[in-house]
């Protein structure tokens, strides 16, 4: 037994390996269990090591304990369709497949809706949503089949030890400084870019040739939008400065997040219902439209705006809820 294991500063590499093993185990457990199991595992592993342990002893001990997945399964017997053994991979694949399929489907839906703007937006939202649901369903079915057919994960040996995940530097309740700096940068770029684009005429950046010099939005609406763009940019800038200074979720950052989200969501909702938002001339350039009047009616039809409004409200609520949740979690953890 190594009574002096923790008193050896030269054992940084060993400690790092042990911590990565513990992290990979506890991240598969319910959040309420993690801290306790982490402390217990750390003590138990230290007890299992011989005095003046070498890296080889650490590796042997971790191999003896079994893979993080199997150890986590011992703590929390699988009770789900997809066990912790496959859960992380499942979530990773699910995110990727849903994002790709939904994007491709949304683009397809938008293209199919040309030239009607309402059909393009409606088609993109509807087919994107259908694609996402289909992708999520079939990915889940695939993983349930893999689970039930006895997939057992990777072999657990010394080579696998080097593949243990790194412990993320952003822990619960902390806000990454990099993400705050990127947020500040993007707020400034977004504001300058938008204003430049509006003043340049608001034309399509990537569009078929016949639309190349035509704006999707009416110039009057775009000019009216400039103060709102500045307000949105300022809200992003201020909130990210608060994030950078505080560097963790607390009342100040939670409040900044709420103000930022409400300002952006509110402005987008306000602009969405502008009657002159779209450029009617664009529709008259369309070669496919049966009649310009039909298209004018389609754009004037406010149904699709309600769909987009619901998406804006839902994502704003999600953003606020996420911030509040992280604040409560962070404050509780620090208490």
């Amino acid at each position: 037994m190594t009574e002096n294991y923790q008193n050896q500063p030269a054992k940084k590499g060993q400690e790092d390996l042990i911590e990565r093993y513990i992290y990979d185990t506890v991240r598969r457990l319910p959040e309420s269990e993690r801290t306790e199991v982490m402390l217990e595992l750390r003590a138990n592993i230290a007890d299992m090591l011989p005095e003046s342990a070498a890296m080889q002893n650490v590796q042997e001990t971790l191999i003896q304990l079994g893979s993080p997945q199997s150890l986590a399964n011992q703590y929390q017997p699988p009770r789900y369709l997809i066990s912790p053994l496959l859960y992380d991979t499942y979530i990773q694949v699910l995110k990727m497949v849903v994002a790709i399929v939904a994007t491709v489907a949304a683009v397809g839906g938008a293209v199919a809706g040309i030239p009607s703007i309402s059909n393009m937006i409606g088609g993109a939202v509807w087919t994107g949503l259908q694609g996402a649901l289909q992708a999520a369903f079939w990915t889940t079915i695939g993983f349930v089949i893999a689970e039930k057919s006895g997939y057992v994960g990777e072999e657990w040996n010394i080579a696998a030890l080097s593949n243990l995940p790194k412990i993320p530097t952003t822990t619960d309740g902390n806000i990454s400084k990099i993400s705050s700096v990127v947020g500040i940068f993007l707020s400034v770029i977004f504001t300058i870019g938008c204003i430049y684009w509006i003043l340049a005429g608001g034309t399509f950046l990537f569009a078929p040739h016949e639309f190349a010099d035509i704006s999707l939005f009416s110039q009057v609406a775009l000019m009216r939008a400039i103060p709102f763009v500045i307000i949105m940019g300022a809200a992003g800038l201020v909130s990210n400065v608060v994030f950078l200074r505080q560097a963790r979720w607390n009342v100040a950052t939670c409040f900044a997040n709420i103000v930022h989200t409400v300002v952006i969501g509110g402005i987008m909702l306000h602009m969405l219902y502008w009657g002159d938002l779209f450029n009617m001339n664009l529709l008259e350039h369309s070669l496919i439209a049966d009649s310009v009047n039909d298209v004018r009616m389609a754009v004037g039809d406010f149904q699709w705006r309600h769909v987009v409004a619901v998406i804006i409200v839902a994502s704003s609520l999600w953003g606020i809820g996420d911030g509040v949740w992280k604040t409560v979690k962070g404050v509780r953890k620090r208490a």
């Binding site: 402390l39 217990e40 007890d47 079994g66």
Partner: protein, 115 residues
């Protein structure tokens, strides 16, 4: 070779059922995970660390064990002892175990296949 694997599987099954009883029997005095592992091994009961540590936690959540962190030593350790309810369950399990041993002995002696 094939028989060895088959027998090994049965032995694992037999031992698995006795682990809770073995653990409870050792925890009249407070012990931390690794010390309990060593005591069980010295008593001939082989248990893997990755089985014992989660088992201790499970028994604690079921109210059979109580635990306390000892931070007075160089390294903090979690010590487990059997709870009052754990003692009652231990008595019942022990009585059942003795009954099983007696019944099995009787059955094996009556139908000795090697005779």
């Amino acid at each position: 070779m094939q028989n060895t694997a088959i027998v090994q599987g049965f032995i694992v099954d037999l031992r698995r059922g006795t682990l809770v009883l073995a653990v409870l029997s050792c925890l009249n005095t407070a012990k931390y995970g690794y010390s309990l592992l060593q005591e069980m091994e010295s008593g001939g009961v082989k248990i893997e660390a990755n089985t014992l540590y989660p088992l201790l936690r499970r028994l604690e959540s079921q109210g059979l064990l109580e635990s306390e962190w000892n931070t007075s030593q160089s390294r903090p350790r979690k010590y487990y002892t059997i709870s009052q309810n754990g003692k009652k369950i231990y008595q019942l399990l022990r009585a059942e175990w003795q009954r099983i041993v007696a019944d099995m002995e009787s059955l094996l002696n009556r139908n000795e296949v090697l005779q």
